[in-house]
Symmetry: C2
Subunit: 139 residues, 2 copies
DNA sequence: CATTCTTGCGTAACGGTATAACGTGTGAGA
DNA sequence: TCTCACACGTTATACCGTTACGCAAGAATG
């Protein structure tokens, strides 16, 4: 086995690079930057940022990964059927780095209403809370 | 006049660099990146990114400027008493670049409720809609 | 089979975004 | 006078992301 010239789509049709990146994100406890992922995957042969960015683009597109705009970093999606959830909010702890994924229909509804009132057609929505998580408030 | 060695806080206690940056943002039709601002202010003697970033930090802190996380850019605040408005949403047109500033108490309330439910203490909240504005939908 | 299209890959070079680590100057207040 | 806080200026560097190439493999088609 391990014919390293052939694609090995171990996860639902992902290419080699895509599954390498996906694995790093899935195993990580928090968000990772593209360059951190690159460094972790050098041992697997990745050399250039573009290899990571292309994989990330695809993973974000199919909903397996989220981009955190306020962090310039990426997290694996933790929700079961994430593709279906349109709007997701993130609670990002600035102290421990923990990220909670929150899917609340009320937010989605309100944002849709606001957009409609302004006759604005949203393509992508970003909702990120930066602050202190429950466990870090003791400090 | 024009003693260029002294601070000239022409706007409510702003320093020279801060008011230079503020003026660029106030005159711009859309968001500006820090480096765009720097280029525009070279004629006024600014040379290094840090001069702009420090001014931006302060202006954001006092609520005269907003940072658009999904764009890595900055806009002047268009609301009258912006400091008081905790949560502001932005509708950013990906076609014409127009940015609408939306202050809706419902969103603010929902986000607060969500945070409280998760025992999360928010410090800063980002809500950005990317899409097509009313005028650009014709295309 | 030959052709074309599409998709992913690999590399090099580059451009855009942001901060670290110095040191200087000035005004407020002990 | 002596700090202390704050803004400033400079250099260098780190971090984030894309452009522009060309190659390879599989699917679709004639």
């Amino acid at each position: 086995m391990s014919d390293h010239h052939h694609h090995q789509p171990d996860l639902a049709g992902l290419t080699r690079n895509q599954s390498l990146v996906m694995n790093q994100l899935a195993c990580a406890v928090g968000p990772l930057s593209a360059y951190t992922i690159l460094d972790q995957l050098r041992v697997h042969g990745l050399r250039a940022p573009l290899q990571v960015y292309r994989a990330l683009d695809k993973l974000v597109e199919i909903g397996m990964v989220h981009r955190l705009e306020s962090l310039n970093a990426f997290v694996a999606c933790r929700q079961p059927g994430c593709e279906t959830n349109e709007t997701i909010a993130f609670a990002i702890c600035d102290i421990c780095g923990h990220v909670a994924e929150i899917s609340d229909p009320k937010i989605a509804r309100d944002l849709s209403a606001i957009a409609e009132a302004a006759q604005f057609v949203p393509r992508k929505t970003t909702v990120e809370l930066r602050g202190a998580c429950r466990l870090c408030q003791a400090a």
